[in-house]
């Protein structure tokens, strides 16, 4: 990744213009031709630096009013298989294996979205049964959202 790529990334962090030729406008911000800008965006997508070009919705406003972070304790030899399987579930938006900590043996985390608390609980139960997990997950329901924002890179 070079300086020009960083200019592309900075431009893409701003509001995406809802106009006929949005990349032309962003290319101006990044001080390069539209063709060069498009070529670099495609390359960043290919390498995975851009994991998605698209839209993210405000889930509460489209009917998914409830979500829960589920922490699971899965034996090390099964964790990979269970994580893959849980990732297949549509209601699961995030699925990570994480390090454990003293007194905290949960190693697999899934974010589950649903139309109600009960809906989320049913999904968690279904995932538990489908994957033969004995211990129910810690259901870390949100009490309050203190911050939710996108990360801004290369501003230094």
């Amino acid at each position: 990744m070079d300086e020009a790529d960083k200019r592309v990334i900075r431009a893409l962090q701003e509001d995406f213009p809802l106009v006929a030729e949005p990349y032309k406008e962003l290319a101006k911000v990044a001080d390069m031709t539209e063709a060069e800008f498009l070529r670099r965006v495609l390359k960043l997508k290919e390498t995975g630096a851009i994991r998605k070009m698209g839209a993210v919705l405000k889930h509460r406003n489209v009917g998914f009013t409830s979500n829960v972070l589920c922490a699971w304790e899965i034996s090390e030899d099964k964790a990979d298989e269970v994580a893959k399987s849980m990732s297949e579930e549509r209601q699961v938006s995030h699925c990570y294996i994480r390090k454990v900590a003293p007194g905290w043996d949960y190693n697999l985390y899934t974010m589950i979205h649903g139309k109600s608390r009960e809906d989320c609980e049913n999904t968690a139960r279904r995932l538990q049964e489908a994957n033969g997990v004995t211990k129910p997950p810690a259901m870390l329901f949100t009490v309050k959202e203190w911050k939710k924002t996108g990360m801004k890179y290369f501003l230094e």
Binding site: A20, R51, F141, K144
Partner: protein
Amino acid sequence: MEELSQFDRELLNILQENLPVSPQPFKDVAETLGTSEESVLGALQRLKREGYIRRIGAFFDSEKLGYVGSLIALKVEPQKLDEVANAINKYAGVTHNYEREGKYNLWFTLNSPNESFEKKTIEEIRSLDGVTELLNLKATKKYKVNVAFNL
């Protein structure tokens, strides 16, 4: 807030998966939907204004950009929670900060430009008045990061 029309739903389902990287991306989307570029742009401006769309554009893999990330769980004394949550919100690398049910009551994600920056931030947060425990739950493998709803 108006109800989403069938057209809105189809448009959002497509755009949640992919926004084309091409000179006229919304024209490409319009062709898939059998409509005009103008109606796609008009609908998106309205859906954004009405608060259905959080963000449209690029979403990055912070690690591929050289950043390091973690999930931090805190146990905070209840009477100090507001103060601690506000102090954590001030960090630019904190993108999500949630009060949650359970033994650890404050959970946040932290992105840092390098390991030593992360370490310094974590030590600062650990020493905040009211923080009694801190868990640094670094991801060892990411299986899915995709917030897309079937409308």
